[in-house]
């Protein structure tokens, strides 16, 4: 949805919650409303996050890919560079398990970083995202993505009525 972001600052969670409720009743979909805060708030305290968290699936998939890579590395080593030692198997299972496990864990850890960051939308430096550094002073910023014009005016009014200060309309993304 293209539009503008209405943003207002609140001192306490309850006022912010009232603002969140007022924005929903405009009506605005849950996905268009968010908070920006220095401390995480429980889901549903002010707004809800309707998007499911999907990256753990990527992590699990990465674990299996890593396991395959580890298995491949160990097996390829045995077969391409066979080390013949009397009485010892060329393809040895316990070391293969260790190498497989470690590389699987490495892939899962890296996938948590990369997939997690991507799903959070981090690293998009060129995107113009709304922000207010006063959240570090304990303020809660309630933001809503709205259509410019009447909807923006009504959203700003809802935030002001709920006790919001510094209510403003900005071009940008949530």
């Amino acid at each position: 949805m293209s539009g503008v972001v209405v943003i207002g600052l609140f001192d306490g969670v309850e006022k912010a919650a009232r603002a969140g409720k007022a924005l929903r009743s405009l009506p605005l979909p849950a996905g268009n409303i968010t908070t920006i805060s220095g401390v995480p708030l429980p889901d549903g305290a002010v707004c809800e996050d309707p998007r499911p968290i999907r990256f753990p699936r990527v992590v699990i998939a990465a674990w299996f890919v890593g396991a395959l890579a580890g298995l491949g590395l160990a097996l390829a080593t045995y077969l391409l560079y066979p080390l013949i030692t009397a009485g010892k198997a060329i393809v040895s299972i316990p070391p293969t398990l260790i190498v497989t496990y470690e590389i699987a864990m490495l892939f899962a850890l890296m996938a948590t970083l990369i997939a997690g960051a991507l799903e959070m939308g981090l690293g998009r430096f060129k995107a113009r995202k709304v922000h207010d550094p006063r959240i570090h002073e304990g303020k809660i910023a309630v933001c809503a993505l709205v259509e410019p014009g009447d909807q923006a005016r009504r959203a700003a009014g809802a935030l002001t009525e709920a006790g919001g200060t510094e209510v403003r309309v900005e071009e940008g993304e949530l």
Binding site: D11, G12, V13, E14, K15, T34, T35, I36, S37, G38, V39, P40, L41, P42, D43, G44, A45, V46, C47, D49, R51, I53, F55, V59, L73, T77, Y78, L80, Y81, L83, K88, S92, P95, T96, I98, V99, Y101, E102, I103, M105, L106, L109, M110, T112, L113, G116, A117, M120, G121, L122, G123, F125, K129, H131, P133, I135, H136, E137, G138, C143
Partner: protein, 464 residues
């Protein structure tokens, strides 16, 4: 409880100033300390170059002791790294309410001790300039690392743990880097802007951030355990008396956690003093870590006794000779180990007033570090010095070369920590703020107790 829940329970600006003091104030002492450490490190590098150009003969290594202090240092630093991330991960997963001020110091300790420890196999290598032979890539030499060797498992495990720990440390810092970005100017602002990746603290970001943190904690615990198990298998897979033992993996893990907790306490005590963090790092934190240290001392004693008992009863001559040497040539090291790891720490740590006294617990932790270093000397050196054939038995003493490199490793670790504390937040500020937000004072009769709200999500939008 008041009708309005405020995110700011304290003067946020003052809290930020207190917790990020290390980033804001740089005194002449910091530069003086860095200068001295840099000299020690440069000396160590010079000695290493001398050893590399002259040959390993300048060390005290000789038949049959081919693994000496350099390998002891490797095991010591990897062991020290063990607890930081592990403690942090366990405290995160169990939602320990006192964890916040400890996390960053512990995680950073892991990362830096791993960085230092991982250098020692390369330093010990002999022909160090051919270190790249250990990397698996197609080459004209027709050489490839032997995946059946425990040393190769070690390389794989340590790389996984190092990357995982650095990532764990970094991810834990993202909200604080965003906080610093919004409170800084100039090059620092640019640096924090890049490193915080544009984190703002939206509701969706926080939710995913918490899931990612939990995943990291879940994944890093088994990696941490596997790393020190594999370090132990470097020894246990060899048919060397004193090494070839099934108990070695859990014994090494326990020893690593033991020395790691002592390391965390030492680092915390120093940070508390240097950066005046008395309000954040309270006696409660030292008390809780002291309890863990006490438990690990007991566990270490149990493992050591179990290992000794089976050899003592069995009296297998090869293995018994190693233990007999503890009462002869290695008696000072053995006494140092037992005294510093068990006889002194265990009874002292049972006392609440010792655990709650920062100087006292600092002293006990220092003893544990000395004791665990001695233990590694006994494991590595004594076992090789009494290896099978009595005709080749020979004691080992490190020369100035090994001692210089060891001193340089301590200097490097301290320097890394000092540089880190200047650039990055040494306290997990966001975690501390979150804890303050969830904490209220509750009157129970005439007493006032601290009540901490814990948020659990049960389903779609359902919060308990």
């Amino acid at each position: 409880m008041s009708g309005e829940h405020l995110l700011a329970r304290t003067d946020e600006a003052q809290l930020f100033r207190d917790l990020s003091r290390s980033n804001q104030v740089t005194t002449w002492r910091w530069f003086a300390g860095m200068g001295i450490l840099a000299l020690v490190l440069l000396w160590g590098i010079g000695v290493f170059v001398y050893m590399m150009t002259t040959g390993m003969g300048v060390t005290g290594l000789n038949r049959p002791v081919f693994w000496g202090v350099l390998i002891v240092n490797f095991v010591f630093w990897i062991g020290l790294s063990h607890s930081g991330t592990l403690i942090s991960a366990i405290l995160r997963l169990t939602h320990a309410t006192w964890r916040a001020p400890i996390l960053r110091a512990a995680e950073a300790m892991t990362a830096f001790s791993l960085l230092v420890g991982a250098l020692f196999p390369l330093i010990h290598l002999g022909r160090n300039w051919r270190f790249y032979y250990t990397i698996p890539y197609p080459n004209e030499r027709g050489l490839w690392p032997n995946m059946r060797s425990p040393l190769m498992w070690d390389a794989v495990a340590i790389n996984t743990y190092l990357l995982g720990s650095l990532t764990f440390l970094y991810v834990g810092m993202i909200p604080d880097l965003a906080l610093l970005r919004d409170n800084s100017t100039g090059w620092r602002r640019k640096l924090y802007s890049i490193l915080s990746l544009g984190f703002r603290g939206t509701h969706a970001e926080w939710r995913r951030y918490h899931v990612a943190s939990t995943f990291f904690a879940i994944l890093i615990i088994p990696v941490a355990v596997s790393v020190h198990s594999i370090v132990s298998w470097d020894f246990a897979m060899a048919k060397v008396p004193g090494w070839h033992s099934t108990i070695f993996a859990p014994y090494f893990v326990v020893g690593a956690i033991f020395s790691g907790i002592a390391g965390v306490i030492l680092v915390m005590a120093v940070l508390r003093r240097v950066f005046r963090l008395e309000k954040a790092l309270t006696p409660l934190h030292f008390d809780n870590l002291g309890k863990l240290l006490c438990t690990m001392s007991l566990l270490w004693g149990y493992f050591y006794f179990t290992e000794f008992l089976t050899v003592w009863y069995n009296r297998n001559p090869e293995e018994w000779e190693v233990f007999r040497s503890y009462g002869k040539s290695f008696l000072p090291v053995f006494l140092l180990m037992i005294t510093c790891n068990f006889i002194v720490p265990f009874p002292l740590l049972c006392l609440r007033r010792v655990r709650r006294s920062v100087p006292a617990i600092f002293g006990v932790s220092l003893l544990v570090i000395v004791g665990m270093y001695s233990e590694r000397v006994l494991i590595v050196v004594a076992s090789l010095a009494r290896r099978n054939d009595p005709f080749i038995w020979h004691n080992y003493f490190p020369t100035w070369v090994e001692l210089s490199i060891t001193a340089a490793s301590f200097a490097m670790f301290t320097m890394l920590y000092m540089v880190f504390s200047k650039i990055f937040p040494i306290m997990a500020i966001s975690e501390i703020k979150e804890r303050l937000f969830h904490t209220t004072e509750r009157a129970i009769g005439n007493a006032t107790a601290e009540a901490i709200a814990r948020v659990e999500e049960h389903g779609e939008g359902e919060v308990k």
